[in-house]
Amino acid sequence: MDVNETIESLKKQMAELKESTEKNQLSMVVFSGDLDKLLASFIIATGAVAMGLDVVMFFTFWATSALRKKKAKVKGKDFFGKMFGFMLPKGSTKVKLSKMNMGGMGTAMMKTLMKKKNVQSLEQMIDLAAELDVKIYICEMSMDLMGFKREEMIDYPHRNFVGVATFLEVAGNSKIQLFI
């Protein structure tokens, strides 16, 4: 093989390698609908942007209810949809701690303490994430299962409704993958 040919083939291989290597990206499955775990997710997500990473958060199962609007009248739900809609928290202000909730007292105390210590609230963290271009992908199947409609989800700027394959594609291209 002559030298030029070798160089050409090497160039080709390099291009292919570049294509397949991971991006400077963090992908995260947010599964939990607990206040503490959601806070941790958003702190990591926003921190990662500061570290120069692109961030995709994939909301599934219980976490999806944290992205509901506070007040949304949605028509056309069946019996189970209505039940889930009623039983699950309506948005980020209603989610509870995973431990020491104590009928809501623990969560209220934690929120007071956070304010006192100048720790950002979950609502502030969501706004910050939006400002920092963190992408939020919401699992279509979870929403369908719990009867959530698209119109009852918060209007987040980089919001997408996706399935598992989309997440896996993103995760495959990420340096860091987390499940919270």
Binding site: I43, A50, M51, G52, Q120, L128
Partner: protein, 80 residues
């Protein structure tokens, strides 16, 4: 002879908790030009490990840390 650092931008991040100091600093650095120096004051105890970790990853340099209690001052040079 004094080796005063010529600061271009000062930031007061006192009272802010993790992850805000690092986020604010990274946003500010983006607006600055290469070679400029940012001085950030913070009371976050985590900053002593966080700022160096951030600087290393984002390719910036910490020139000096004025360690105080509770507030410390970080001098950060934008490298790229």
């Amino acid at each position: 002879m004094s080796d005063e650092i010529k600061v271009d931008v000062e930031m007061d991040l006192k009272g802010l908790a993790c992850p805000m100091p690092v986020i604010k600093v990274s946003q500010q650095i983006k607006k600055m030009t290469t070679g400029q120096i940012l001085a950030a004051e913070t009371t976050d105890p985590g900053a002593h490990t966080d700022f160096p970790a951030w600087a290393k990853t984002s390719g910036n340099e910490i020139l000096k840390i004025e360690k105080g209690d509770p507030e410390s001052k970080f001098f950060i040079k934008k490298l790229k």
